[in-house]
């Protein structure tokens, strides 16, 4: 057992993957000497050299496009997008090429490319540095989309993502980078498959569904709700595409109520998919509609307002209350 911060856990996971497989490459802006603006790739260039940890020109489409080419040549590139809001110049390469090329090739091509995206708000940053663009990717067939919420998952999931033969969009909750926890780096017995979610708190009255940064917020809300006598179950989805549907449906069938929480705008967000799917599959068990807590239908606001924009304990609890109002 080692105590690792989430960012260090990612770093160790990548290091392990690079040691295990010489085809694994790291690429992105400032990932080399600087170790990335969040230091997630700290020390890797020093140890693996400039050919394996590549400081790229400043162009996100170029990063993903060349990563695809490297993958076609047998490499396994792990790309860093510096901040969530800067993934959009790469949207075309991700959506029309990375996601679709394997199917286009009738299976002749596999693209084991990982796109790491530090995501979400809460760090007092300027515009474009606090976004949660996951719904753009969950809607894009051909991609796997995952989000880690804690150091242990960060450590295992990044390795699994790198080993996956499919392209993986890998969300990292930037405001949790510095949170620490024990991680067992000596065994893989405890690893959960990459496409499985995890119940992080048992409960009987309502299910909170979250991923990435909001898992912690939901756990806090669950604890607070307990004081009101409500037994709250919390699920950490981990994988958004594919969804661990059995996990979600089993829980909601038991509790009869669900609230989905994410930082991205509610409107057309991933919570909509969850709500729609849960309602379809648990219609007779639902005591209240699946409620959604998330960002508003506005651009991410200036940081002085982010506490209002971001779901917090109070807004989650208010939704829980509303759910019980039905």
């Amino acid at each position: 057992m080692t105590v690792l911060s989430l960012s260090k856990a990612l770093n160790e996971g990548m290091r392990k993957a690079m040691e295990d497989d010489p085809k694994v490459l790291i690429m992105g802006e400032d990932v080399g000497k600087l170790g990335g603006v969040f230091r997630v790739t700290d020390g890797l260039q020093k140890d693996f050299g400039e050919d394996r940890v590549i400081d790229t020109p400043l162009a996100e489409s170029g990063i993903i496009g060349t990563a695809i080419g490297l993958a076609l040549r047998g490499y396994r590139p792990v790309c860093e997008i510096q901040f969530d809001g800067f993934v959009f110049p790469a949207a075309d390469q991700i959506i029309t090429q990375l996601a679709k090329m394997p199917m286009r090739s009738l299976g002749a091509i596999k693209l084991p490319v990982v796109v790491r995206i530090p995501c979400g708000g809460g760090i007092g940053a300027v515009e474009h540095h606090s976004e949660s663009p996951e719904a753009y990717f969950t809607h894009t067939a051909g991609l796997r989309v995952v989000a880690c919420s804690n150091p242990a998952d960060a450590y295992t999931m990044i390795q699994q993502a790198i080993r996956s033969e499919d392209p993986v969009i890998f969300f990292e909750p930037k405001r949790r980078y510095w949170e620490k926890a024990e991680v067992d780096t000596t065994s893989t017995d405890w690893w959960l498959p990459l496409d499985r979610g995890r119940p992080v708190r048992q409960g009987t009255d309502i299910t909170l569904i979250a991923y990435g940064p909001m898992v912690k917020t939901c756990l806090e809300a669950a604890t607070a709700a307990e004081a009101d006598g409500r037994s709250v179950e919390v699920l950490d989805l981990r994988s958004l595409n594919p969804l661990d549907a059995p996990l979600v449906m089993d829980s909601v069938r038991r509790t009869g109520r669900a609230v989905v929480v994410h930082e991205a705008p509610v409107n057309s967000g991933f919570g909509a998919e969850l709500a729609a799917r849960i309602t379809e599959q648990c219609f007779y068990q639902l005591e209240s509609p699946v409620l959604r807590v998330g960002g508003f239908s506005t651009p991410y606001p200036p940081s002085k307002l982010e506490e209002h924009y971001l779901p917090d304990l109070d807004r989650v609890l208010e939704a829980v209350d509303r759910a019980f109002g039905y």
């Binding site: 993903i64 990563a67 490297l70 076609l72 040549r73 490499y75 002749a108 051909g142």
Partner: protein, 363 residues
């Protein structure tokens, strides 16, 4: 120098030409090529055969057997010349029009039809031929090509990469980013731009006010303009560029100055935007006629040879047609295949549901 843009553009003095439209061999200070008669005959054969593949495909589209077709008519020399310059270890990234390059890479022409017939999005294994799938999103493949070339560098392999794109594509961000990458990493790549003067209805002037080969200089690597209707020149220049790339001298941009003799695709109507005289002027520069003249004048081939190639072309065309019609349609559940390389719960669920739904009808 007889080749010009025929839209009043100056005859580009920089253009590398080794065989005139009249079939005369000419000298060039920097490029030369020594071709034995049988090599020239073989080039001629390729030119004729790919033109026939193309004509047959156009006919198949007319008859409703293909949804659409992008003709290479007029660009045979650029494609055969550059395609034959590749070694087996080299890798090529085409657009959607490189049927001639596909031919050089031994891709069975019928496999090209799948995409246009709507039975698949790409019907060959790129690794088997070192010929990537057709890419429809303009310019995207140039970045894949550079990435691949960066892989070649890391493998320390004796290989180079060629990326095809059009004059229109030169405006895309991706293409310019690929120039940045290639230059910064000194990647072993040849950018082969077929300037066929048109991007659908837009003439070159909508993409650049200077010759395209000069774009490379802005990124710090050499650019060369070659007579794209001269298969000798295309072969010589591409061969040299690939060799340089393999030897670690980095990227080169080749602009093959050519002309799209046909419509953009079979759904296009070029009479809406270009004048007939332009086409007529370019017909005089036909890439096949000049090789024929050369072979003939030099008595490197006789009528029997030309007839035999013609016969081969007839067979190829008939064969292609037959095999096109025999192409099986994919089954409905095929659309769920290969979306992911590893099992995926949602796909499995949807496949099962849709299979059940189809079952419902058959009951």
């Amino acid at each position: 120098m007889t080749l010009d843009a025929s839209r009043g553009a100056q005859a580009p003095p920089e253009l590398v030409q080794l065989l005139t439209p009249e079939g005369e061999r000419v000298e060039h200070p920097d490029y030369d090529i020594d071709l034995k008669p049988e090599e020239v005959r073989s080039l001629y054969r390729d030119l004729v055969l790919v033109r026939r593949v193309d004509l047959e495909a156009v006919a198949l589209q007319r008859q409703g057997e293909l949804g659409i077709w992008a003709s290479l008519l007029g660009q045979e020399a650029a494609q055969i010349g550059s395609g034959r310059a590749l070694t087996d270890a080299d890798m090529a990234f085409p657009t959607y029009r490189e049927h001639g390059v596909a031919w050089c890479r031994d891709v069975d022409p019928v496999k090209l039809l799948g995409l246009f017939r709507g039975v698949n999005h790409g019907g060959w294994d790129p690794k088997e031929h070192n010929f990537h799938l057709y890419t429809i999103v303009i310019g995207s493949q140039t970045l894949h090509a550079v990435g691949y070339a960066m892989g070649v560098q890391r493998d320390d392999a004796n290989a180079a990469v060629i990326a095809y794109f059009g004059d229109g594509a030169s405006s895309q961000g991706d293409v310019n980013e690929s120039f940045v990458w290639a230059s910064v990493f000194n990647a072993p790549i040849v950018f082969f731009c077929q300037n066929n003067q048109w991007a659908i209805s837009e003439p070159l002037e909508k993409q650049s006010r200077i010759p395209l080969y000069r774009r490379a200089s802005g990124f710090g690597f050499p650019g060369i303009r070659v007579d794209g209707n001269d298969v000798f020149a295309c072969l010589a220049v591409t061969r040299q560029a690939l060799k340089n790339a393999r030897e670690g001298q980095g990227p080169v941009l080749i602009e093959a100055f050519t002309y799209r003799m046909g419509a953009h695709t079979t759904t296009d109507d070029p009479t809406r935007y270009r004048v007939a005289s332009e086409l007529e002027a370019w017909k005089l520069k036909d890439p096949i006629e000049r090789v024929k003249s050369y072979l003939f004048k030099n008595e490197f081939a006789d009528q029997a040879f030309f007839d035999s190639v013609e016969g081969e072309a007839d067979q190829l065309g008939a064969d292609l047609r037959r095999r096109c019609l025999a192409m099986p349609d994919p089954g409905p559940l095929a659309m769920f295949e290969h979306v992911y390389s590893e099992p995926h719960a949602l796909i499995d669920e949807e496949r099962a549901q849709y299979a059940a739904y189809l079952e419902g009808f058959s009951e």
